[in-house]
Symmetry: C2
Subunit: 701 residues, 2 copies
């Protein structure tokens, strides 16, 4: 179902329509009339006593309404809502908006009432928006089935908001004229319809060019990623996520766990879905306006035309900081500009048409610059100087914008005088930003969406692994009533998933240790082997570079002595004698932490003390593609280290990518893995692979 | 001189006053009349032919004006300006604003004309603002000696702008009413009066609470720091610096050189001066409004009162991201709130008064929360919901703000409906920000200024050093027509400035090397010694851990062979045999790069490959205090490494601070040092000092 009945119904019933102008039931009905819907569809006020409201015939119940009803809006006290919804079901109404509050948001009893609503909706096959919401608006139908304070102007932006109050602010901004909306949905408690449903419904909506989302949390993260990924191939989705909900209470035993939170999961999810994440409400609007009102940006080369040097510099700084570049003009462009502009003007980018530029000089520069094939987008800066023709310049820009397929945005700086020019620009749908930095961020949003469209077709791989052996390890651990898996058991899992590990074996006595070392060959590493010791170095439980029998025996005895002294309760298996891996490797970290909303969040970062202190890590939600894994390597701040610095050879990046993908597969195959750390994964020069030195893993309860 | 004549003159002459309303000479005169100055002072239009302009008697020259003139404004074509200035000198006019363009900004001839102006000004002791500027405004005198499009409203913000055009935008914003200005100066080419002069002039100006600066560059950086530091103890200075001018052409041979640019120098200078740096024009205004209109913030604990959950979460997120915290209320506060608020409301911070809150509920919450001693500042969020009393709520907030000494700012979200409420807030000088993130950044600005006021009295030290020995090394190097100083010569300088270095000596032959090693004791490090090889590792010129005669001989011969093969032109002194410094140190970098505007820019960062790839460094301009040096250690991202991670002991921070201060003294004592790197400085655990392993230094030509 395309949710058509919510946006373009033939008939609408308002259950709880009121004759009292102070009631929401009146406001909803009034919006249906004043917003123009009553002229294109049938509106039925439902009220137990009234005969007529706002000139429309009223009915005591929906049952008594003649013919079928596409959409019902429920605006009655919460205790009557379940019964009203049931009546809608009986009547065969496919879509219902529940505006009433008093459900999940109101504590335990409310939650029970909401579960009852869901049950009724499922029983009758009703789709529900809300409860506890502001309603739904479609400006093209036109339908205003909400208690908003007015009907916003039409435009290409569709907005969905989990917060009704924030919705009122958005509508108020829209009512001021600059932001035209195609659709507006207040999602409320999301008992049924959620962000995913609306994305699907708006994916092919011809009136919607940009989808805007305000969300406080999502329940089905993986499906959101898949749906949004599909939608963003057709139109941009800009979202703001509020609420940094740290899962603070859960005990975190791995590095990955301490690095990965809900914040990181959303970051990764939006990235993988191609959703542009707005850092602030302001940039949500700034970016959406540029994407909604201007053509797509086809490259990152921007031309600036300004009547003032200072703001031109600010704009240049801001564009470069945002990752865009200043277009380098063709010689012809510069010649043409120079012929027309005064001597003191600058014909190079940024083009300074000087403080005395009238509209025609701006226009000449615009026409010349826009024709340059090296220019992908234009930023026109204007300060209100003594002779500046503010409105006429706005007209030249606006007219030009209608004839070109390159985006053009403006920065008319000021307020009192530039106001009328900005209003003129709005009529042409040229977005104006009062400061250059905001214009630059709008271009960055356009550029980011261009990257979304350019993303390669993702390539997913499936490795031939030994799931059976892995399951056996887990079963064995659970039989022993443990949940954490340390080094010695983890090696079996790593081998089963095709990862390289150092040769090693557990020794229960110093003599056994010597025997094992003789087989492996010196030097060796000795590690305490205990299911109860996860952080071995903290108890002196790791000794490297043991190069003969004597050193090995000494180390063994000291290690066991210390472990017993520091952790007398720990169960000791003995010590692990491990091949000393070749020197010259780069330590990296590969980990996973399961996010409650999005699932397995895989981490990559530099290993050693730097991962802890610098938190230089990046994340993806599994499953992820080969390209995503490759991209992770470029996202850490210290990525240059992987390419080799100071004459070091580049590391074997393919081996890291391979590890990331295999771990991605492991954590998908076994949802019972809640945390996992390979730290360090020792990566050798290109072609020489990587060895997982140490792994820890935690199973779910 | 306090520049009094520019802001509060008794008499003003306009040289170039025109009868033609299209000319700037008319606009300036008109502003003097319309802006109210003509009522409080005498205005003399100077025009060769006119008898009267705008009802004021005109004079052919300033000489013919009866009595003395305090201020002259010159608005005539550039070629006549020097002569006019000379006439001003003859007349004894102390202050002149040159509005005319055609000077330094117009190329070589213009520069010569500007130098002529400076000469005349010096000759007669005239202070000059401009040339190439918009003029000067003082709203309290009132004086509008500019060609601005109107006179801005009075207020506590003083603005100085290097860009006249940007000035027009600022004035236009001010004209719209929200930003009240005390003074406005367009600095133009800064032939004489510059930012430093204005800071001094405004330091004790009772009408100015906040100083705002737009600057594109400064010529006397050190004096700016000293002056601004003094001013910021009295009132906040907020500045935006445009133009990332990289000294791209100069060859950079040190790490510090590649890390430090003009951008870093400004960052350090503003930090040391206590100047708040605005990241964008928008935040320049946002922060200045909060500082100008509200009392000082006395702590970082903010209370949020909102009628909407979603925006409350956004505000919380934004405040915490900005480094502020949510106030924890006293129990009494929560009880009082809970008694008055509806059940569904939240009495904890953020306080949610719910969507149906009228003005009185807001007021009750405000009164209760503001009385809590744990609350340092208030952020009131309002969304325009169905019943919201927008203007009445604004009045409650405004009235409260007049009775308390805690800052209160608002976030009325929306546009069409909230507009009137925002205008009401402006009458109370309560700054409103349309989005929570901007309100949070305004609080951050207030919090940053609080830190400026809390900064400790700086403590400067002077070490007893051997300048003479250092000078000898420099002289010797210059005699050899070299400018760069490597390891072996640098050791003498390090010793002269009291830094620890490893024992070492240069050997010209393998035999000599063995002899030296016998004295120092094995193991030793061998380094190629050549004035021409600065990056020794690149040519295999460093070998560590040589533990006997044989290894040392082999290394010596191989090193010399390689150096000759790779760099046949290099002059070789032999090899440096160096004590192998103890293991267990942390590598850090201490460096210096001389900034053309601010002087010696001292760098501190982690050493090794991380400094290069992560650029995790911080800067100060010398001289800096002990406290500054200490603070540098906390500013690098990886500062936790200095405190010891994974059971490592903390490093000897005092030794790093000592090194930074000694290097700060060295580069001040010898301005001829243009670049310097100690890399690595090996720092040992607390109390065990630091050893400068390697130093490179470059002298000026």
């Amino acid at each position: 179902m395309s949710l058509k009945e919510f946006f373009n119904p033939n008939t609408v019933a308002v259950i709880g329509a009121s004759t009292n102008p102070k009631k929401l039931g009146y406001a909803v009905l009034e919006n249906l009339v004043a917003g123009g819907y009553a002229k294109v569809g049938k509106v039925y006020p439902v009220n137990p006593t009234a005969k007529e409201i706002l000139g429309l015939q009223a009915y005591p119940t929906v049952q008594e309404v003649p013919g079928s009803i596409d959409l019902a809006v429920i605006v009655i006290p919460y205790k009557y809502v379940p019964e009203a919804l049931r009546t809608c079901g009986e009547k065969g109404i496919p879509a219902v908006i529940v505006i009433s509050a008093g459900f999940r948001e109101a504590g335990k009893e409310g939650l029970e009432r909401e579960l009852e609503l869901i049950e009724i909706a499922n029983q009758y096959g009703i789709r529900v928006i809300g409860p506890n919401c502001l309603g739904v608006i479609d400006t093209f139908t036109p339908l205003n089935a909400s208690f908003s304070a007015g009907t916003p102007p039409s435009g290409p932006m569709a907005f969905m908001s989990q917060s009704g109050a924030l919705g009122t602010a958005v509508l108020d901004i829209s009512l001021a004229g600059r932001l035209g909306l195609s659709k507006f949905v207040s999602l409320g408690n999301k008992a049924d319809v959620d962000e995913i449903d609306l994305l699907k419904a708006w994916e092919d909506d011809p009136h919607t060019r940009v989808i805007m989302i305000y969300s406080e949390g999502m329940s089905n993260g993986q499906e959101f990623i898949n749906t949004a990924r599909q939608v963003t191939a057709k139109k941009p989705v800009v979202a703001i996520k509020s609420g940094v909900t740290q899962s603070g209470s859960r005990a975190v035993s791995s590095h990955t766990g301490s690095l990965a939170g809900s914040e990181q999961a959303y970051h990764a999810a939006f990235l993988q879905a191609g959703v542009l994440r707005a850092e602030s409400m302001q940039s949500l609007f700034d970016v959406a306006l540029a994407l909604g009102y201007q053509p797509l940006l086809q490259g990152d080369r921007i031309a600036i035309i300004t009547n003032a040097g200072g703001p031109g510099i600010l704009a240049t700084d801001a564009l470069e900081r945002s990752g865009l570049s200043l277009a380098r003009f063709e010689n012809e462009t510069i010649t043409t500009l120079a012929q027309y502009l005064p001597d003191a003007a600058s014909a190079a980018n940024p083009v300074d048409v000087l403080g005395d530029a009238l509209a025609d000089r701006y226009n000449h520069a615009l026409q010349t610059v826009v024709a340059d094939p090296n220019v992908d987008g234009l930023l026109v800066v204007l300060t209100p100087q003594a002779m500046t023709e503010i409105e006429a310049t706005a007209d030249e820009i606006g007219r030009l914008s209608k004839t070109i397929d390159k985006p053009i945005i403006t920065c008319f700086m000021g307020e009192a005088q530039v106001k009328t020019g900005v209003a003129r620009l709005e009529t042409y749908r040229v977005p104006n930003y009062p400061f250059p930095e905001r214009a630059a961020l709008a271009f960055k949003g356009m550029s980011d969406y261009r990257q979304v469209l350019l993303r390669p077709t993702p390539e997913y791989v499936e490795f031939d692994v030994d799931r059976h052996q892995t399951q056996q390890v887990f079963d064995q651990v659970r039989e022993q009533r443990r949940l954490s898996i340390g080094d010695s058991e983890a090696r079996q899992i790593l081998t089963a998933y095709g990862l390289q590990i150092p040769q090693s074996e557990i020794a229960a006595t110093p003599d056994e240790a010597v025997e094992i070392a003789n087989q492996i060959g010196y030097p060796v590493v000795l590690k305490i082997a205990s299911p109860d010791i996860l952080h071995k170095t903290d108890v002196g439980g790791v000794k490297v570079g043991l190069s003969n029998t004597e050193q090995l025996r000494d180390a063994y005895e000291l290690m066991v002595y210390r472990a017993q002294r520091y952790l007398p309760q720990a169960h000791l298996w003995g010590c692990l004698v491990q091949q000393m891996v070749p020197a010259g490797g780069q330590e990296v970290l590969v980990g996973m932490n399961r996010d409650p909303q999005f699932g397995p969040l895989v981490t990559f970062g530099l290993g050693g003390i730097y991962v802890e202190t610098l938190k230089d890590v990046t994340f993806r939600i599994a499953p992820f593609s080969v390209q995503s894994a490759e991209k992770m390597l470029t996202e850490i701040r210290a990525h240059a280290i992987l390419d080799g610095v100071r004459g070091e050879p580049p590391v074997d990046k393919a081996a890291i990518v391979d590890t990331l993908l295999r771990i991605g597969q492991l954590v998908q195959d076994f949802p019972e893995i809640v945390e996992l750390d390979i730290n360090p994964l020792m990566v050798y020069p290109q072609g020489q692979g990587a060895i997982a030195i140490d792994m820890r893993l935690v199973l779910s309860k």
